[in-house]
Each structure stands twice: as structure tokens, then as C-alpha cells.
């Protein structure tokens, strides 16, 4: 089968999957009480008036009787909830495909934490937060790659020897440690180490007394004038191109934007802020890739062409590196693709611990009921976004796999 026919076929098969996911979220949305839907879709604070969203309320003239509540029916009509269910479903699917995913609520925890998101379209808000996560994902993936491939090859060559066993113990430890524990400990360690042992109040050597080590390692941006940022008035000490401390202009990527505006030290600072979380992510998720590299290397090492290469007298080093190593990479690359897709979904825990302005952070706030409540618009929007990303990544990986390994038949 030709490559483009295969891609086309996969893309067409994608549509029912996405519609299926949307149907499931539609069922969940539909089973929410009306006032929850109104508060999340229209950006209103959660209603305090108990009667506001009830279909019947005491009559103004005679409180003993019940009358139709006009506000309730107006809002039903505004949301289109008075239409038959199939029509509602079709409208929902249409809105989902046109990125009309509702708005962030004023009263929800996420809306109150990030004031600028209140009443904004969910897709727009996710677009603001995505670049931060992309930078973090790219950096952690790079670390994983640098460590996993040589270590996996080493483990496969020295199978069941101490090197293999310790690589296994190390990678499994990262997997088995809860992420919140690991990242909290890493944060504490970094603060203590860079604060020269004096804890949370010493400022790092590259900053003035205004900024503490603790602040230097949490948040995506420094809050004090550590790098001679020309702070615009009313922008909480942030540079003028950084609205509300998280909407970065023009590209949205923190490092790139800082470089565009000629603030090299600030760019370095943004990288420093994602370096430790990236290492934590790498440590926590290296186990899967390491196991894949090791197993595929083990399989390749048993193949005939490796034996032939050895028989020809090629040095073992070259056999492992050039013959076996390169051929075992096919599987690795596909796994990497899927890992990256999963990474784009954000790291709610790690971004919450380090207070990085990624998708994971806004998601962590959107599900919190403590301050205001769950933002259903944001949660369902994120569900749709991550579904689409994962499905697309699957297709890309399949195509890539076929491209890298000519033996694989498309079909």
C-alpha cells in the first residue's frame, strides 16, 4: 500500500474514535446539574441563589404556590438544553470540532488563580499554557534520550551482570517513587544546595537579596527584579511582554520570548527553572524506555547479521554500536514518540510542585474543589485536546515506524 493512502486511511479511521470520545464526554456533561453547566460555560460564579437554577420557585405573589422560574428557562434556552438530546449531541460535536469548548469560569479555582483566564475560551487558555509544557517535555525527553539509549545498550550487553541489575533498580526506583514525593524532595534538595545550606531564605549567588532560593526554583518567572527586567507599571513586576505573569508574547515559549526581547539572562533563568523538574520527569519515566531499549537490543544481538559481523572479525565495540545499536533504534523511536505525546498532556504533579505555568498546572487547579470549585469547561476541554494529541501521535509513530523499517508492511 502506498504511504499516503495508508495515512489517509488512518486519518479517516480517526474520526469515529474522536467522535466516540466526544460522545462519552457528552454523556458526562449531560449528567451534570444545570447550574454546574451554566457556571462553567458562561463564566459566572457558582450561583449563590438557591432558587436561581431551579425550574420551579415560589411565586412572587403567593409564596405558598410554585411558579415557573423564568431565569431557569432562559438559561436553558441560552445553552440549547431545551432541544432534543440528539440535536444537543450534534451541536456538542460541532462545537468540539470548531474548538468552541466553552469558557473558563469566574468562580472556579482555576479562574480565580489565573485571573486573566476568566471568561476566556478554553482552547485559548490551553494555548497559553501549552508552550511551557512543550519546553519542559522537550528538555526531559532530551535527558531521557541521552541516558536511556547508552544505558540500555550497556545493560543489554552486560545482561544480568551488576551493570544490568543496577540500571534496572535505578530505573524502577524512579518509576515506583510517587511523583509528588520525588519532586518535593528534589525541590528541597535544590533549595538547600543552592541556598548554600542556609535554607529557604538565602538568595542564590546570581541574584540580589530580593529573591530567595525558594522563589528562584518555583514558578516560571522570577518575581523580583533579578535580571534588570524593565517592569511595566501594574504588571506585578513582570516585563511588559509577559501579561499577568504567564501569557508570554509573541510566541508563547518562555525561553524563545526572553531571547526575542534580548534578555539573555532571563532566558537562562527560565531554562534553570525547568531543569530540575525535567530531571525529575526523566528519572521518573526512564524505566519504560530503558526496558524497551534493552529488550530490543537483546533481540537484535541474537540476529544472524550480528553473528556474521562478529565472525568477520569486526571489533565488538563496533558491532554493538554500528550493527546492533542502530538496528535496535526503530522500536526506541516509536516509543519515544508515544512518550512525547503523553508528555504533552502535562505533568500536573510536577508543574504544581514547581509552580510552572504549564497545562498540568492549570489542570491541577481546574480539578480542585477547595477554592471556588471544579472548572468543568477546562477539564472537558483538556480531555478532548489530549485525546486528539494521543491519537495523532499514534498515527505519526506508525508511519514513522514503517518509514524506518522497510520490512514493516502498511495495512
Amino acid at each position: 500500500m502506498r504511504m499516503w493512502v495508508y495515512i489517509l486511511r488512518r486519518l479517516i479511521l480517526l474520526v469515529p474514535v474522536i467522535i466516540g470520545v466526544m460522545t462519552i464526554t457528552f454523556v458526562l456533561v449531560s449528567s451534570l446539574p444545570v447550574h454546574e453547566r451554566l457556571s462553567s460555560q458562561f463564566g459566572a460564579a457558582p450561583p449563590r441563589d438557591a432558587w436561581l437554577y431551579q425550574p420551579l420557585r415560589p411565586c412572587p405573589t403567593n409564596p405558598a404556590q410554585e411558579c415557573r422560574n423564568p431565569v431557569y428557562y432562559e438559561d436553558l434556552a441560552k445553552l440549547g438544553l431545551n432541544k432534543p438530546i440528539p440535536v444537543q449531541w450534534a451541536v456538542y460535536i460541532y462545537n468540539s470540532f470548531t474548538l468552541n469548548w466553552g469558557t473558563v469560569g469566574n468562580g472556579s479555582t482555576a479562574g480565580q488563580t489565573f485571573q486573566a483566564t476568566q471568561g476566556q475560551q478554553v482552547s485559548t487558555v490551553l494555548g497559553w499554557f501549552l508552550p511551557y509544557t512543550l519546553e519542559l517535555a522537550a528538555l526531559s525527553l532530551a535527558i531521557i534520550l541521552i541516558i536511556a539509549i547508552p544505558l540500555g545498550n550497556l545493560a543489554a550487553v552486560n545482561r544480568n551482570r551488576p551493570v544490568d541489575q543496577s540500571a534496572r533498580i535505578l530505573s524502577f526506583s524512579g518509576y515506583a517513587l510517587p511523583g509528588f514525593l520525588l519532586s518535593s524532595l528534589a525541590l528541597m534538595a535544590a533549595v538547600i544546595a543552592f541556598g548554600a545550606g542556609t535554607g529557604f531564605f538565602a538568595h542564590p549567588p546570581w541574584c540580589g537579596p530580593g529573591e530567595t532560593t525558594w522563589q528562584e526554583f518555583t514558578g516560571s518567572w522570577p518575581t523580583y527584579t533579578c535580571y534588570n527586567i524593565s517592569a511595566a507599571a501594574g504588571n506585578q513586576g513582570y516585563p511588559s511582554w509577559l501579561t499577568d505573569g504567564f501569557i508570554s508574547h509573541p510566541t508563547g515559549f518562555p525561553t524563545v520570548d526572553a531571547l526575542i526581547h534580548g534578555q539573555g539572562w532571563l532566558a537562562l533563568d527560565t531554562i534553570l527553572r525547568i531543569a530540575i523538574p525535567a530531571m525529575v520527569i526523566a528519572f521518573a519515566s526512564i524505566a519504560g524506555l530503558l526496558r524497551f531499549v534493552r529488550n530490543s537490543m537483546l533481540e537484535v544481538m541474537n540476529l544472524d547479521f550480528v553473528r556474521t559481523a562478529r565472525a568477520e572479525g569486526i571489533p565488538e565495540q563496533t558491532v554493538v554500536k554500528r550493527h546492533a545499536g542502530r538496528n535496535s533504534l526503530n522500536v526506541t523511536i516509536t516509543v519515544l514518540g508515544l512518550t512525547f505525546a503523553a508528555f504533552i498532556g502535562g505533568f500536573p504533579i510536577i508543574e504544581d510542585v514547581f509552580k510552572l505555568n504549564g497545562v498540568g498546572l492549570i489542570l491541577a487547579y481546574s480539578v480542585q474543589i477547595s477554592k471556588g470549585g471544579i472548572d468543568f469547561g477546562l477539564v472537558f476541554g483538556a480531555t478532548l485536546l489530549f485525546t486528539i494529541i494521543v491519537v495523532l501521535a499514534n498515527i505519526i509513530v506508525d508511519v514513522l515506524y514503517a518509514y524506518l523499517d522497510p520490512r514493516v508492511r502498511l495495512g
Binding site: V21, R168, A176, P178, G179, S184, N295, P348
Partner: protein, 487 residues
């Protein structure tokens, strides 16, 4: 009784007859042989067995199931009488001589005597009153029966002075004693005894408080206390208003063994069962059935797992509080298991389908079909038994991740459990980390920081050991079962 299908390496299949070993037995022996040579796998197996024994032991203990006993730190030097208040208008010029009755009320304590009388004869009168901690209420927040209170009852004896000029006149005195306990210990909470540095130890199970923070409990670890008394964990103790909400880590981890193992195995077992059926049907029948089921699997696989669990629980708890009449506590746990199940089975369905596609082309399936076996029988007797090994491995891998995932949900602040201190390992470790961050946020340059290391260490260690030993075991199992990987 006819034979099951042959394992991968045994050459002949003989019907099971009396006196002969089961034909599968050599497969088990072989697996054990390879597993035994893998030190890490054996270590994992040992830890798993230990946790199972702990869970069995815990189920015999009288501990609450839905919410841990919550403790409240009360300093040894308390209650201190700050002021006495009269119940009616003061009498100018002091009390007339005579006998007066009084009652004493202190929140969280039972005074002895609670009421009495004193004689005013021109001078101040001192009455000795002893305060015992009020016994805990019989039910906890989730409605489950709570266990007995603390075994030690710490008595405080205080002198209450009735000054003839300080009190007002009435037939019966209401003496309110305002106490300087660091918090108002609620009635449902049990009280932990603490005492300041330098004071004599008032009794067993009491905790020393550091001089800098009298309302805090010193970060000491006493193994005797760890097993016997409460090791208070889990909340801020730095400021007076937030010194309640401790729980006993030992009780938590003990009861947590029950809940963690039950929740993990029921999610994974249920998911594997559904996945096994769907995957076997899909792989065996093929065609339109396969296509439809696999699209369904695709749909469920592409939904983000954590988000989906949150959404399902949020939506269902918005509409109802009790599922299937299980009560608020039980229905929350049931809901959690069901929500995880919905996202869990597709993995197994895909694994099983891949295996079935290989198995159904084998000669023994063909011969069974030639012998006239029905489709259901072939699936039951031949396809499923030969496709379950990868499922076992996947299951054993997944069991360890459930406490981690639950910890993530709890850390995000999403109330998946009926009470804040639900005894589940993941929940306990997540709560302890949240509490640690609260501790760190209250650090100041003058007082420094108190890092309650034990409250992170023990739950974290248990979650870590569970996940890693399950992983080692399943990794060893995979190596032992996969003929390509072993030597």
C-alpha cells in the same frame, strides 16, 4: 476431564489420569526454576507476601475503615485557666458570706468535680479540680464506628480560686474556664498528650514539644511509640489554629494495607476480566466484531486516564451521594474502583487480542475444531488458557501503580475518598507531602523550619516498596515465562 492445551514447550499432551501429575505442573516448575535464580524477583515476591500478611493481620485489628482516628495535640501545661466569668451582674462590695454552688465546663475535658459548692467567709476559696480528656465520640465522620480512645488518660489538676471580690452573685455559679490549648479540640478527635521541653514526662505516649514552637511536636522517632502509641502525622502544628488533624501513621499504614491491596487487585482483576473476554472474542471472531470492538478500545485508550477518573467521580457525586445503597463511604470507594475499571480494561483487551491472533492459528486449535468442538468451548478451553500469560504479567505490573495513581489524585486535591485521612497508602503519602509543603511555607528566618520527616518517610517507603517489588516480581515473571528472553 479432557486436557487443557499444551504449554509452549511440553511435547505431548496426556489426559489427566489418576496417579499422573497434572500436565501443567512442569510448566509451573519450570517458571519457578527461572524465577528462583532471579534475586530481584525473589525479593519482590517476598515483599508482596509480607504485605499480604500485613493486610490479613490488619483485618483482624479494630481500626476504623473509612477515616483514621484523628488526633488533636494538647499541651501538657493546658488547660490553663485564663479567666473566670460570672453568669450574672456583679454584686458591689463583694459576696455576702454563705454557701455558693458552681459548675465548671472546659471544652474537650471532663472536670472532676464538675460542680460543687464553696463557702465564702471573707477570704478567697481554692477548689481543686481535675480535668480528664473527654473520651472520643463513638462514630467518626464517615459514620463508621470508631475504635476506643487513647489508652492513657492524662489528668490535669488545677486550683480554681474563687475570689469573693472577683465573682458576681447568683445562686449557682457558672465558672467558665478559658484554656490556652493550642486549638479547640473537636469532640470527634482524640487527644495527643504533649509536654514542653524540660518538663517531667507526664505519662506514656506523650510527646515533647520543642522550645521554639510550644504547639508543635518535636520531630523525634521512638520505635516504642511507633508501635504502641500515636505517632502524630499529617498536618500543620506550627500555628495554634491548625494543630488538629494528626493521625497515627502506624494505624494508617496497617489499615492501608487492607484498602490498598483490595482496591488495587479489584481494579486490576476486574479490568483484566473484562479485557480478557473482549480481547478473546475480538481476536477469535475477527471481521466486523473485531473492528467494532477495537474501535471501542481505541476510544477508551485515548481518553486521558486521570482526567477521566476525576470527571466520572465529579459528575456522579454531583448528582448522587450513595451508589447502590452502599452508604457515603462505601459508594465513594466503589465509584473509584469503577471509574478506574472503565479506563483500565482496554489495555488488557489489546494485549489479549494480540495473543489470541497468534494462538488461534496453532495446530491444537485446528485439531480441536476438527474434533468438533464448539466455538465457545474452543475459546474457553484453548484460546483463553493460552493467552493469559501476558495478562498475568501486565496485571502484576499494574497492581503496583494503583497506589501511585491514587496518590496523584489525592495530591491534586480531588476528594476521591469519603474522608481526608482515608487509610490508603497512596492517599497517606500524598497527604503527607501536601502537609510538608504547608510546613515549608510557614518557615520564617527567625524560627527556621521543622521538617516532620517521619510523616513523609514511612508512607512513601511503603508505596515505593510495594510498587518496586511488584515490578521486580513481574519483570522476573516475564523473563521466566518468555522463552526468547531466558537462557
Amino acid at each position: 476431564m479432557s486436557s487443557p492445551s499444551p504449554p509452549a514447550t511440553s511435547s505431548t499432551v496426556s489426559p489427566r489420569r489418576a496417579g499422573r501429575p497434572h500436565p501443567r505442573l512442569d510448566a509451573y516448575k519450570r517458571t519457578w526454576y527461572f524465577l528462583r535464580r532471579n534475586t530481584l524477583a525473589l525479593f519482590g515476591l517476598g515483599v508482596i507476601i509480607f504485605f499480604v500478611i500485613v493486610a490479613v493481620y490488619a483485618s483482624t485489628q479494630p481500626l476504623p475503615y473509612y477515616g483514621l482516628n484523628s488526633y488533636c495535640a494538647t499541651n501538657y501545661t493546658n488547660p490553663t485557666i485564663l479567666s473566670t466569668e460570672a453568669s450574672s451582674v456583679p454584686v458591689q462590695g463583694g459576696l455576702p458570706n454563705g454557701t455558693y454552688g458552681y459548675t465548671v465546663a472546659v471544652k474537650g475535658y471532663t472536670p472532676t468535680p464538675a460542680s460543687g459548692s464553696f463557702q465564702v467567709a471573707g477570704k478567697a476559696v481554692t477548689v481543686q479540680i481535675t480535668f480528664h480528656p473527654t473520651p472520643a465520640a463513638t462514630t467518626d465522620a464517615a459514620g463508621a464506628a470508631s475504635s476506643s480512645g487513647l489508652t492513657f488518660a492524662l489528668a490535669h489538676t488545677y486550683s480554681v480560686t474563687f475570689d469573693e471580690f472577683g465573682l458576681s452573685g447568683s445562686a449557682n455559679w457558672q465558672v467558665s474556664l478559658n484554656v490556652t490549648t493550642p486549638n479547640d479540640c473537636l469532640a470527634i478527635e482524640q487527644t495527643v498528650c504533649t509536654y514542653p521541653t524540660g518538663s517531667p514526662v507526664p505519662g506514656p505516649g506523650c510527646y515533647q514539644t520543642p522550645p521554639a514552637n510550644p504547639s508543635d511536636i518535636a520531630p523525634t522517632l521512638n520505635l516504642a511509640h511507633f508501635s504502641m502509641g500515636p505517632l502524630p502525622l499529617g498536618s500543620l502544628t506550627l500555628t495554634p489554629s491548625t494543630s488538629s488533624g494528626f493521625y497515627n501513621v502506624y494505624q494508617g499504614l496497617l489499615r492501608g494495607a487492607d484498602w490498598s491491596l483490595v482496591i488495587s487487585t479489584s481494579i486490576v482483576g476486574g479490568g483484566a476480566l473484562v479485557g480478557l473476554v473482549v480481547g478473546a472474542v475480538s481476536g477469535f471472531y475477527g471481521g466486523a466484531v473485531d473492528e467494532a470492538l477495537m474501535r471501542l478500545v481505541d476510544i477508551f485508550l485515548s481518553i486521558p486516564q486521570i482526567l477521566f477518573v476525576i470527571v466520572v467521580i465529579a459528575v456522579v457525586t454531583q448528582t448522587t451521594t450513595s451508589v447502590l445503597g452502599l452508604g457515603p463511604g462505601g459508594s465513594r470507594v466503589f465509584l473509584l474502583i469503577m471509574a478506574f475499571l472503565v479506563t483500565w480494561w482496554p489495555f488488557y483487551a489489546r494485549v489479549v487480542r494480540g495473543q489470541v491472533l497468534v494462538v488461534r492459528e496453532q495446530k491444537y486449535v485446528e485439531s480441536a475444531r476438527a474434533a468438533g468442538a464448539s466455538r465457545g468451548r474452543i475459546i474457553r478451553r484453548h484460546i483463553i488458557p493460552n493467552s493469559v500469560y501476558p495478562v498475568f504479567i501486565q496485571m502484576s505490573l499494574d497492581v503496583g501503580t494503583i497506589p501511585l495513581l491514587i496518590g496523584v489524585l489525592i495530591y491534586l486535591g480531588f476528594p476521591i475518598f469519603p474522608t481526608p485521612y482515608f487509610p490508603e497508602w497512596g492517599a497517606l503519602s500524598a497527604n503527607s507531602v501536601v502537609s510538608l509543603q504547608a510546613f515549608l511555607n510557614t518557615c520564617t528566618e527567625t524560627t527556621g523550619c521543622i521538617v516532620p520527616w517521619w510523616q513523609i518517610f514511612f508512607p512513601g517507603l511503603v508505596v515505593f516498596m510495594f510498587a518496586i517489588s511488584v515490578n521486580f516480581f513481574s519483570d522476573g515473571l516475564r523473563d521466566a515465562l518468555d522463552p526468547r528472553l531466558r537462557r
